[in-house]
Amino acid sequence: MERRTRTPLVSSVDALLAVAAGVIALSLGGMTLYAGGHLHNAGAPLQPAAVTAAPAAAAKTTTTTTTGRLQLSRGVTITTALPITRTHRS
């Protein structure tokens, strides 16, 4: 009995390579066009600016009171450095 062999859709090596290269080029070009037109995405999962803004605002707890000529300022400096203590040993 004669066995039927299926001919593949793309028989040429070069043609298949061109298709693969074309798919990658299309994704690169398409994404470049899209990203160029939509620079900012508020719904993006990562927002580096939002992360940096929050601790910076929290760390600076300075209150300023202005009473006429006198300007009073109270600032709390937060430091992460460990206190240096010395223990006397006899």
Partner: protein, 180 residues
């Protein structure tokens, strides 16, 4: 458009294209053994596609990483390229990208050094590309700026399903060979 904007666009486009190249590479690699793409082309052509996409992935990933490192907004340093999960924001999502990058580089280098490796050793290293793919997909899902876009999201999930289907066929083909 400023330089920073240009870097940002470049990072996003090369990231997406690198993912596409990785998908094609993984799918064509798995199809070599299982014959899942025999309807498309013969094995020699699929092998050439596997090699081409793996090689094309490298410059795309390199540009993606370099653009992000040069972009002051993203604040990614050279250390983050080597040590994962150190970035001050989205450390897990970005760390997965670092892991994926490192694994694919290891797989590529092992392929170029194949003659000096044993078949078992080379195969063990080569299988890391599956882990790299999963890490790259999760990186895109968790960190990708454009992943929420319906078209891109659909394409990404479609390609991931394609990898799963071809992977399943690869696994069943391998089991069938073992039982014979």
């Amino acid at each position: 458009m400023t330089i920073t904007d240009l870097l940002w666009v470049l990072a996003r486009s090369t990231g997406t294209a690198a993912f596409v190249a990785l998908v094609l590479s993984v799918v064509s690699g798995m199809a070599l053994r299982s014959g899942a793409l025999t309807w498309l082309s013969h094995n020699r052509a699929v092998k050439e596609v596997h090699y081409l996409t793996s090689v094309v992935w490298l410059p795309l990933a390199a540009v993606h990483v370099i653009a992000l490192m040069l972009d002051p907004y993203s604040r990614i340093g050279v250390v983050d390229l080597i040590v994962p999960f150190l970035v001050s924001y989205g450390s897990f999502a970005i760390g997965l990208g670092t892991i994926s990058l490192e694994l694919v580089v290891v797989v590529l280098v092992s392929t170029w050094m194949r003659s000096s490796l044993s078949q078992q050793g080379w195969l063990a290293i080569h299988r890391l590309s599956y882990v790299a793919f999963v890490a790259a997909f999760a990186h895109g899902l968790l960190a990708g700026t454009d992943f929420a876009q319906p078209l891109l999201s659909a394409l990404a999930w479609l390609t991931a399903s394609m990898v799963l289907v071809v992977g399943f066929r690869r696994l069943t083909a391998s089991r069938a060979r073992q039982t014979l």
